[in-house]
């Protein structure tokens, strides 16, 4: 058994009957089943098709502290204003490690029909709905999240509710003494014809050695619309596992963005199930990797009903010896006629040692479908590069401008201006670093 599984098994045995919901036998039984599923699922290796390009042994070789009570007083000096987080909404929910932090959170008056509830209180209240979200996963990490889960946020929108102001959920990994494993959970239940905008940020404070195992579940019921932006920022000491599951019912729409800006090893799976006709999903993503960073996105769209649409646009940029992976699977089930699926994966390599592997995977069992996909890996356009330099723009600036132009398409459609500007700022910070780095490589 791996060091990770061993150490987590010890911690789980010690703590499972103290975790939220421990007085509820069905929750305790659920945790045990979930942990057994994690233990029984073999560690993914590069021999495993879904992990071909991502070696997560460093995660499995580390002993992480997962369940000890971190004292909030350790972080009394921490203020949101110290963090480079944007303020685009009066509704901010903050988790420190995986505990809700009341001091840093700030939730303004919510419209009628919108409810934010901590998952801790749902577990303690023995809410039957919460158990439904805990099981039935194919892979190890979502099960591990359920077994160890202490808190998170549940966003519920009653039918017809229109929540215009975004809800920003921030998961922080502060600097601790021992490497920490955080289990972050976000559940969005958009009931019939409701609308909401969610921003989910995972931010690793400078230098913290950590692993985040995040799980996001989005339900867009009939006619509902959920707009979801996921942003991950980490140092190379921080590893990140993210799973997003979106279930899209009849005439509903989910638009989900994934922005991944580094970390050591980051693996983000975005799954969308289109289970009612007229369901629509938009998957957009951007990742940027530099030295000693590795980001892997796996997307999987399942068209289970006729007249469902998916549109996917992912871009990746790798510099230094950074590595990126995109794998996009589109599955169209047999009865899912009149389906439209578009997928695009475009990638930019900025250094000789950088690598990006991209692979579309189409499995189509229906005969009346329109599917198109394209994948490219290239370098900065030499003609454009010379054109800018011939105008007097120096090499580094020209490289940054072109890299930014490539990346900026992805946040370009975001209508929350401060969020888009923040993302563009994050891209610019990195394109400037890219310029410097590449110049160093050239010398």
């Amino acid at each position: 058994m791996s060091a990770l599984a061993n150490s987590l098994a010890t911690q789980f045995r010690e703590h499972f009957n103290k975790l939220p919901g421990a007085d509820n036998p069905s929750i305790v039984a659920m945790r045990k089943r979930a942990f057994s599923h994690f233990e029984a699922t073999p560690m993914p290796t590069t021999k495993h098709e879904d992990w071909k390009y991502t070696d997560i042994r460093p995660l499995y070789d580390t002993t992480y502290t997962a369940l000890n009570e971190a004292s909030e007083s350790d972080f009394e000096d921490l203020h949101l204003s110290d963090l480079p987080l944007p303020t685009f909404t009066p509704h901010v929910v903050v988790f420190l490690d995986d505990q809700f932090c009341r001091r840093l959170s700030n939730v303004g008056a919510l419209p009628k029909g919108v409810e934010l509830t901590t998952i801790k209180s749902l577990l303690q209240r023995k809410s039957p709905t919460i158990i439904d979200h805990m099981e039935g996963f194919d892979t190890a990490f979502p099960s591990l999240n359920s077994a160890l889960l202490r808190d998170g946020i549940y966003v519920d929108l009653e039918p017809g509710t229109n929540m215009v102001e975004p809800i920003h959920v921030v998961f922080l990994s502060p600097h601790g003494k021992a490497p920490r494993l955080n289990s972050a959970r976000l559940i969005v239940n958009g009931q019939n014809n409701s609308r909401c905008v969610i921003v989910e940020s995972h931010y690793n404070l400078s230098g913290a050695q950590s692993m985040t195992n995040a799980l996001t579940q989005i339900y867009a019921r009939e006619g509902a619309r959920v707009l979801h932006h996921r942003i991950q920022i980490g140092e190379t000491a921080a590893h990140h596992i993210g799973n997003v599951f979106a279930t899209v019912e009849k005439d509903a729409e989910v638009e989900t963005y994934s922005f991944a800006f580094g970390g050591g090893i980051a693996r983000i799976d975005v799954n969308a199930d289109l289970i009612g006709s007229g369901a629509n999903v938009v998957l957009n993503g951007l990742f940027m990797v530099n030295d000693r960073q590795h980001i892997d996105h796996h997307t999987r769209v399942r068209h289970r009903m006729p007249h469902t649409n998916s549109t996917e646009n992912y871009k990746g940029i790798a510099d230094g010896d950074g590595r990126g992976v995109f794998n996009g699977k589109i599955l169209v089930e047999k009865n899912a006629q009149k389906v439209k699926a578009l997928q695009s994966s475009r990638n930019l390599l900025l250094a000789d040692n950088a690598e990006i592997d991209t692979k579309p995977e189409l499995e189509i069992y229906a005969d009346d479908v329109s599917c198109a996909h394209g994948a490219t890996v290239g370098q900065l356009d030499e003609d454009a590069f010379f054109y800018l330099r011939s105008r007097g723009i120096d090499e580094q600036t020209a490289r940054s401008i072109l890299t930014f132009a490539f990346a900026a398409e992805i946040p370009g459609d975001i209508s929350i201006v401060d969020l888009r500007k923040w993302l563009e700022g994050l891209i610019i910070d990195r394109t400037n670093a890219i310029g410097l780095n590449t110049v160093r490589h050239d010398e």
Partner: protein
């Protein structure tokens, strides 16, 4: 100002320029004409500093500086501007944003203070008027979706903002109708002054109806085979290039 001396250039072991000599003084307009494949575009690109050419002999100086040792942006800083035959489309980069970065890049190179947004926009507005470019194009991504004429006007517009000391126009007339040709010619004529020089590279004489050169050179086989005044251009228009080829191969 510009001195090209015995320039020999190859691409992948194929000799393109074969001992080219050219001297351009301040305020002069030189036209370089020649048949396809004579090395006209290579000459433009080599002066502007494009990579991928082997310079096997000869040299280029600009106001006494060895141009071949400078990066493209440094040559621009010295005052060289190339109007592209095929202006590059760059989606995602705003035309005006690029121009501001370019102008401030040049100013930085010359040790001048950078222009702030207000002063820069004033300048752009004034130049927009004088070149007659549709200001709707300014805030679009560079050349993206522009017509052939719009692209060439944009080159002239950039030239007017960046105010080079030497402007090289590489086949600027290609793909232009008469109206666009006239507009480009007017734009260039406005920029003519006693300090600024032009090298106009063209296959056809027609652009020279609008921009009347002081000197006309014929480039063939990688060398200048004949020089004269504007009447040489008219002769070429009448007789084509073949008679020159015959003449040079026999000499």
């Amino acid at each position: 100002m510009l001195k090209i001396n015995n320039l020999q250039v190859s691409i992948a072991d194929k000799r393109i320029l074969n001992g080219l000599n050219l001297t351009v003084k301040a305020g002069e307009v030189h036209a370089i004409m020649g048949p396809n494949g004579s090395g006209k575009s290579t000459l433009s690109h080599v002066v502007a500093g494009r990579e991928g050419y082997d310079i096997t002999a000869g040299g280029i100086t600009f106001n006494g500086k060895n141009l071949l040792e400078l990066a493209p942006e440094e040559r621009a800083g010295e005052g060289v501007f190339l109007a592209f035959q095929y202006p590059v489309e760059i989606p995602g980069v705003n035309n005006v944003y690029m121009l501001k970065a370019a102008l401030n890049g040049l100013r930085k190179y010359r040790g001048q203070p950078e222009l702030d947004a207000v002063d820069f926009l004033k300048l752009v507005k004034a130049k927009t008027k004088s070149v007659g470019i549709d200001d709707g194009l300014l805030n679009r991504p560079i050349n993206t979706g522009f017509s052939g004429g719009e692209k060439k006007r944009n080159e002239v517009f950039q030239m007017s903002v960046l105010e080079p000391r030497l402007a090289i126009l590489d086949e600027t007339d290609s793909g232009l109708d008469i109206d666009a040709l006239k507009a480009v010619g007017d734009g260039v004529n406005q920029l003519r002054n006693s300090d600024r020089s032009f090298v106009i590279v063209t296959h056809y004489q027609r652009l020279l109806d609008y921009i009347v050169p002081d000197f006309v050179h014929v480039l063939a086989g990688g060398r200048i085979v004949r020089s004269g005044d504007n009447s040489l251009a008219l002769e070429l228009e009448k007789r084509g290039y073949d008679w020159l080829k015959d003449e040079t191969s026999t000499t």
